[in-house]
Amino acid sequence: MMGRIALTFLVVMLIGGVRPAAAERLVVSLSNHRVAITSSFVGEDLVLFGTVEPDAGKTALRPVYDLVVTVTGPRETLRARRKQRVLGIWVNVDSREFVRVPSYLAILSNRPASKIAASDTLRRLQVGLDNFLLPQRIGPDLADTVREDPFRLAFIRLENQQNLYSEIGTAVTFLTPTVFRAAIPLPSNVPVGNFAIDVKLFADGALVARTNSALEVTKTGFEQYVADAARDNGLLYGLATMLMALLTGWVANVMFRRD
């Protein structure tokens, strides 16, 4: 009985062409888990380091790995609008709502995603901007569209222009066959909140290990204070701004008085 199971196992493995027990483990570490937006913030590059470890020390490591790091920012709902000429002027005529999509999305890999695995695998694992799930409100339903949908293409293009969505096929570097580093570019307009980092290890076009990490982007000090005040105490904040305006005007008047 045992022998038959072992034999079946061996046969399956020979047919599948894979080596014994996919048992790699990913160990990753982020250079900084908390990014603070201060008054001089102009963006920051984070570095994710990691190694591929054999699990339990038994299995041999494979010679070549591929790595995909997906960083997603806090979810938000956005509306993409399309202009059309109406009576000679350009007016927003059509819009589509993208519901609970990442405000920041970076898909980083050591080589272009299309070369890492077959397209259906990539699609299932949401690797690449084309394959990432971006639900739109279409009538009463929420659904992602085909990747050629003009709104979807425009949405990704605009987010990409703002450096918020990116797919970089060279952002992950293998320093040795098992030690890697990934550069996560956070632009100056990076949204505030919790970011999820999903790390996927591929070998021979199949997912062999997966782990995750997280980072937080926060406004600190004065920026935090101003943003909170504007949101939570709008009226008081407005009155304070108004008083500041009056004070500035008065000071200027006193300073430049000519008599």
Binding site: F41, L78, A80, F151, N189, F222, L246, G249
Partner: protein, 307 residues
Amino acid sequence: MQIYLPIADMPVNIFLVLGMGLAVGYISGMFGIGGGFLMTPLLIFIGVTPAVAVASVASHIAASSFSGAINYWNRRALDLPLALMLLSAGILGTATGVWLFTELRALDQLDLMIGLSYVTLLTVVGAMMIYESLRAVVRARKGMPATLRRPGSHTWVHGLPIKVRFKRSKIYVSAIPVWGIGFLIGFVGAIMGIGGGFLLVPMLIYFLRVPTATVIGTSMVLTLVTMASATVMHAATNHLVDAVLALILMVGGVVGAQFGVRTGQKMRGERLRLLLGVLVFAVGLRFAYELVASPDDLFSIRHVGVE
């Protein structure tokens, strides 16, 4: 030097914004206007969203008009009762404007509305100013006295009921056009992020025959109060006033205005009005071009909500 704006959520070069404040302040001091119609488009141009630009410029104009109003108050060149009457309607206009601003923003048509208002107002007012000042220049060439105000000449405005006397301006007019003008300025200011000084001054002169001695001071009081209340209302309803951006702008603005006033006093009245007319008209054309010309990108994105 870059500084991060906490509400606009973007870094800007502090010297660039300060320079914009100085330049616009200079022009505003020179012509006795708030300069919002220049500042708002400039901010939009450097990447601030139109909504934040309109809301933040309001406080900038409040600062520069307060600085100017003190000067006119000290010189007694300010008609407070007239200003207060304009204001009673102006506040209502501002509230209506802020409300419409919020509604249009929800309908994705705010940018269009701001653009259209700019085009119509600026080209019409600019063209009128150019026409009027060119006539004055021609009259001055021919050696005729350049009178703007013909005492005793009445229009239909003077036939309206509820008459009120304003002592300092030496006018006796109906309250209806006063309220109408006040409401319009408050409304337009809230929607477009402008103080409306360049609109108010000609309206007061042509419709109410307010003498030039008190017109600018009175206009500044009105601008001050409508813009101060627009700041508070925009902050309370839309949470879009960026205090850091506003502070940099107003510091540049009030300093620039002091130098502008000196240049303005050296220039002839009709020349000054011609120059302002050309400026207003040019900004209007710029907006018209933007509405008509094919945009670089037909698509745009707007934030609806954060989870």
